[in-house]
């Protein structure tokens, strides 16, 4: 009983925190001054050509980002997950770094290279550098930056799923053909659902992105919503404009579900005793290694190095701390509180998915995924619709609104990690505790939590990173005087010196990656000792 009650409460909490704001937003788009009205939609239709153009740009940007990320991420995922490529573990970590930081930091770094007055302009004739700069501040630049930021998702999902394909299926293929044929006809078709899921995820994340298009001055649909809301204070127009984004997200998720809900393609657990085979790259090994290394240096190391070089003066950091110390502290505090709340809610929802203890487990899973793929700005508008009332101003006017936003958008991350961790623990362990007379909380405390400890730490860390890098929700709902570091950097970009912006970017990268590094080191150290 206590188990079902706790899980039902967690499911209800997710619905209240995540779904209610979306419903409130839809409802408020039909209300103006307390009565039913279609004026917001009439205004939307009146400017439909402009909105259609922006929506088209958003779709094109997302499509290009997703296509590029898939084309590069899948082979990279196979190389990292299945081949004997040297340093593949290090490559996996390196390529993941851009995913962990706000994408516009990469845009800032590339801006210093190809922008006006950047490194390229000093080394090449002005015609070449002007051409590059013009391309960078537009669709090509946005695509390249977002591709670098989101490609790791495709790579990581490919790496994970090539690891769970039954090795015997590949063995059977290897007896009669070479690896490329086996990959093309057996492995990749089997993990097609995962690849398509990753592509859809990248599409939706790029679709909702505001930071990069803002910096690269490429007008896209979410920016228009933000402009209506923050610049024109036209909340009705902002909510009405958010509805098409909501519909596009729902349509793409529905399409993805329809395409991929195919039991034939569902992966089976690996047979006990089956050993995974590595693809031997043979005499291609060092050529492939050189290519991947070059790619990593160009897309990850170079942008990070540029930021470091550009900020390499004590005065830049002194100014950065003097102008943004409050934002740094707030960002850290919100990320720690947000990650802790996310881990708690994610654990309960993850347990529900794992145990299927309530019939609505599938709805909880779908809702959490839907909220994650919804653009942050849409969730932000939803939070404003629901909580910006005299009665709830205590929440709306405080940082609690940010935490609610994080819970709404990112619960799926700790939920899926928890569920995967719990799946690896034999059910019999919990059953044995139950038979021994332990309550559910006791089983959790003494059996499941200690065994799922590493998964929970990973869930907290991932939640921390995503709270810290958030820009869509934070920009929309941060209370006056409570801006976060990513928001602060974005606002300072208009008139801040490049060295100051670079220093702030480096600080944000360090506070994001440092806990990850420390905890991974500690986990490895403790694993080695045990």
């Amino acid at each position: 009983m206590e188990k079902r009650l706790t899980l039902a409460t967690a499911a209800a909490l997710l619905a209240v925190i995540g779904l209610l704001p979306v419903l409130a937003m839809v409802a408020s788009s039909f209300h103006i001054s307390g009565s039913f009205s279609l004026k917001a939609y009439q205004a939307l239709l009146a400017s439909s050509q402009q909105y259609a153009l922006l929506l088209g740009r958003s779709v094109l940007l997302s499509f290009l980002t997703s296509a590029l990320a898939t084309v590069v991420g899948v082979p990279l995922g196979v190389l990292v997950g299945k081949s004997d490529l040297p340093w593949r573990g290090a490559f996996a970590v390196l390529f993941t770094v851009p995913l962990l930081i706000p994408p516009y930091l990469i845009a800032v770094a590339w801006g210093a290279i190809v922008g006006k007055g950047g490194w390229i302009s000093q080394a090449f004739p002005s015609a070449t550098s002007d051409l590059l700069s013009a391309a960078f501040f537009g669709l090509p630049g946005c695509t390249v930056v977002l591709f670098t930021a989101f490609m790791p998702l495709v790579m990581l999902l490919t790496t994970t799923y090539v690891g769970v394909v039954n090795p015997r299926w590949e063995d059977a293929g290897r007896l009669v053909s070479r690896w490329p044929h086996v990959l093309r006809r057996i492995t990749l078709p089997l993990i097609t659902p995962a690849i398509l899921f990753a592509a859809v995820l990248v599409f939706l994340l790029a679709f909702g992105e505001v930071g990069v298009p803002t910096y690269l001055r490429y007008p896209v649909y979410p920016l228009e919503i933000l402009t209506q809301f923050a610049a024109f204070y036209d909340f009705g127009a902002a909510t009405a404009a958010a509805i098409p984004m909501l519909l596009v997200t729902l349509a793409i998720l529905a399409l993805e579900y329809r395409l991929l809900h195919n039991p034939i393609l569902e992966l089976r657990a690996v047979m006990p005793g089956a050993t995974r085979r590595q693809i031997a790259l043979g005499h291609w090994r060092f050529a492939v290694f050189g290519t991947v290394l070059g790619w990593a240096l160009l897309t990850v190391v170079l942008p990070l190095a540029v930021l470091l070089i550009q900020s390499a003066s004590p005065s830049a950091y002194i100014e950065a701390f003097s102008r943004a110390s409050g934002s740094i502290v707030r960002s850290l505090a919100f990320a720690v509180i947000g990650a802790t709340a996310l881990t708690l809610l994610g654990f309960c929802c993850g347990y529900l998915i794992h145990s299927r203890a309530l019939p609505l487990w599938r709805s909880v899973d779908a809702l959490a995924l839907f909220l994650f793929t919804l653009p942050g700005i849409v969730i932000g508008i939803g939070l404003v619709s629901l909580w910006n009332t005299p009665m709830t101003n205590a929440i709306y006017g405080s940082p609690a609104i940010l935490i609610l936003g994080y819970l709404a958008q990112y619960t799926v991350l700790p939920m899926r990690i928890t569920s995967a961790s719990l799946d690896s623990i034999p059910r019999s362990l919990e059953h044995a505790a139950q038979l021994g007379g332990a309550s559910w909380f006791m089983s959790l405390n003494y059996i499941l939590l200690p065994l799922a400890k590493r998964g929970l730490i990973a869930a907290w860390l991932i939640s921390y990173v995503f709270c810290l890098r958030d820009i869509g929700i934070s920009m929309t709902v941060y209370p006056p005087g409570s801006d976060t570091l990513p928001v602060r950097i974005l606002t300072l970009m208009a008139n801040g010196a490049p060295s100051l912006i670079a220093a702030l970017c480096v600080i944000l990268i360090v506070v994001t990656l440092l806990p990850l590094g420390v905890v991974s080191f500690w986990l490895r150290h403790s694993a080695r000792q045990s």
């Binding site: 039954n166 015997r168 299926w169 063995d171 059977a172 293929g173 290897r174 007896l175 009669v176 053909s177 070479r178 044929h181 006809r185 057996i186 078709p189 089997l190 039991p263 034939i264 393609l265 089976r268 047979m271 005793g273 050993t275 085979r277 031997a280």
Partner: protein
Amino acid sequence: MSMIEFRAVSKVYTGRRVIDALSLEIKAGERVVLFGPSGCGKSTVLHLITGLVTPESGDILINDELVAAGGRILREPEQRGIGMVFQDLALWPHMTVSENIEFGLRARKIPDEERQKRVRDVVDLVGLGDYLNVRPGELSGGQQQRVALARALALAPRIVLMDEPLSSLDEALKIQIRKEILRLQCQLGFTLVYVTHNRDEAKQLGTRTMHLRNGRIDSALNMDHTA
């Protein structure tokens, strides 16, 4: 003529010596059953023969040709002319029966017409019937077994390896499939290496049984019956 030969082959998994300086010789057309308790290295021997696993030391010869030596693979699995029936059958769930069987023929770029003919021949040979366009998941256990056999035989291999392929079937079906295997081996003349921990199966199928213990041959026995 020896079809498979191991010369002091060793294999180590995570610090444990699974195969320990194993030497053996299997003649062309022989039916050898590897028999022994779980974890004694039977399946590893099969994987060493296929080339899916690299030995730490020792030489492996197939048809008198060196295919692995000095801890290196000299002939890739697809170049060894081996068919295999896996313990879990390893039928590709996203392909039809026909696609499963013709996979290897496609990989060798055999023309369409010839490929179709060989698929039909091998399907008739194993008595699979009219199930070419269904997926393996829609077939019964016995039918899946026949698909796995057909796939293993499609390229007319010189050697067929079977890794406890009947373990998931009921007793009646086991007896029937064993008879089929014997019939096919006599008809086609391939060298059969069969892994089992079932003593009756070993007696019925092998012209020779090898008892493995701790990665070495504990005893070898020539059976006095013929198929």
